[in-house]
Amino acid sequence: MKLRDFILRRVLLAITVVFGVLTITWILAFIVGDPVTMYINENTPAEAIPAIRAAHGFDEPWPVQYFLYLSNLFQGNWGVSGSSSNMPVLEILALKFPATIELAIVAMIFAIILGIPLGIISATRKDQKIDHFTRIFSLAGVSMPIFWFAFMLKYVLYYYLAVNNLPHLPGGERYDTSTYLDFEFITGFLLLDSLIQGNIPIFLDGLVHLIMPGFALGYLTLAIITRMMRSSMLEVLKEDYITLARSKGLREKVVIYRHALRNAMIPTVTVIGLAFGGLITGAVLTETIFNWPGLGRWAVRSILFADLAAINGFTLLVAIIFVTANLIVDLIYGVLDPRIRFG
């Protein structure tokens, strides 16, 4: 019963936040910016602009405009992207979405699989060599300009090796488009689609293509998770219940991986939720470098064309993903920490 109330409360809170997000994007696009720019280009004659303005209700009072904006959004009318041959924004988002999410998930898996053990090892061997190494490694991760790091990776692992005729990683794209000309997507997720079609070569090719962008994108998240895991583990290991666990005669491994880890995971899980937003942000920068046909590269291209509708749609989508990720984290939190449910 109580768990259900907790979930309900969180979901309601997330919905209010989404409304807030819609309002902010509206303020940005309609109050601060001029929405009419979504429907005109440099060839539009100046005298036609008032008519376009009126046609879309941009001359109405603000409350009416706000209502129109919301009703349009809910009807799936997110505007058209001028920089992508006037395709509906929602359609493009749906088209580009899988590539980005696939990359983000790979980066996240990579960050979690490496970050959590690194944090634990670093905390349990505080002030030993491995701890110093991990701390510097993770500090460098949070200080790294991600686009530069991606670029340096590409320069060394692709360009430099390729120029010297050494085995090298692919320098961009999701898969080798020139070899596998006739590959068709079903869901848009390459790894999934190739498995469905039983096309193992493409699956492996996709994996190889994911290595570099995945690492470049995941490094920041890896660093954040490692740091958080280390500090919360150190904090937890000082707690009284760890002494109690030791006094029971439990093995040090059981003390750490059963009693301490579960408690230390609580703050780490929050950070993982927040880091997911960081991954989408990072995708904007990484995809540009690796020519990745996802949302990020499309958004950057839209910026160059000052495509307000595209950016607005992108911002909205990212915020909604972010809110959803945090909602999921909140729910996991409720499972991990029984105290939360009653708070």
């Binding site: 807030g20 997000v21 200080s143 300009p145 530069w148 937003g277 942000t281 540009t288 972010f322």
Partner: protein, 438 residues
Amino acid sequence: MENQIAMTANEEYDPMQFTIAGITGMLVGLVSFIFGIAIFGGLFVAGILGLFSIAFPLPEFFGSIGLQGLLALVTGFVLYRTSKAIKKHELWAFSTSLYINIFAIVVFVSTSYPVVLLALLPLIPLLMLFLPNVKTYWYPTFREDITPRIKELKFSLRLVAKSPLVVAGIIILLVFVLFAILAPYIAPYGPEERLWSDGNLPPLSPSNQPGRPDHIWGTDNSGGDVYSRILYGAQIDLQVSITVVIVAVTIGSLIGAVAGYYGGKIDELVMRITDIFFAFPGLILAMAIVMALGERSLQNVSVALMITWWPTYARLVRGQVLAEREKLYVEAARSIGASDTRILLVHILPNTIQPLTVQATMDTGSVLLVAAGLSFIGFGPPAGIAEWGWMIATAQLYFTIAPWAVFFPGFAILFVALAFNLVGDGIRDILDPKLRRR
């Protein structure tokens, strides 16, 4: 209360001196406050009107000292409040007033001509605090109070000196600050200077133009000297990130303190608003704001980053205030009739400064990264200006010919962000009472 007890011993008690000190302080506070309102409010109005495309011409110098305007506004208010308390002989106000006056002087000195003359004003109430009667009233207590703090500070500094990572961070930061300040004197080329004959030269190569200095870190595609541009870039990058953090901290902590202290509906509202801001990843929100503002300029990037970052500090300060507010000593202070301002200034604020410093230091690094990222995707300063992120963005198109033009600016970003993180991390460990005495 405490002041009355202390007073009985003093026979040559002259209340006039207190009144003078209080009133001068209040006046200076008012001047500073009005000045702050003028600048900051002016900028604010200009900004709002600008949104509606109404021209609102501001005097030239106002634009450059917006930050100081904000700080003057806040210090003015606090100075006014403490001076009023001095008039009433409230012991707590004297030391606070001392600090605030010194801070006001620093703020005004950091502005440019003609406001710099205002720095003389806070000197008057500062000296007033040392009128003989006034001084005997508060100084002994102050000394008693400050001695252990100075001792603690010395101890902290010793810990800093002992921590190699913090020292490394501080040295890197100092070097880059020096770079930024001395750029016009030590850079061999100008920030936007281009030698078309010198395109894509590798590091350490001499210039093709006779008589020009060597390009020690090479040149980019259009013949700009990478080394010089990085030095000048330090000016922009450091300035943007530090200003953004200072403004965000000031605004955020004011809002957070009010929300936390008064609670109730204000608190609820502020927290819901921060929730919404936290629903956007930093770079994306900043990107959307710059996009909406339309024009591509450093100012817009700064404004966008400030709007993106203030909720962090509002939350942090609110949490601290909430925690402190419930503590016994605050209850005790309230029960003897201390005013809200006094409780906030004397009891709560000092306790929030430490976590705020740590967070702000680390965030300066993150702001730097996001600002560089923004200009990398095309939201930076106007094309051609020497800014690290933008340098990478332009140079990466020619990376097969001139990889060094990408390598060095990125390294500069990495180093400065790393330094801020090192210092922030180190300060946190040093200030943490749990780790302190090991």
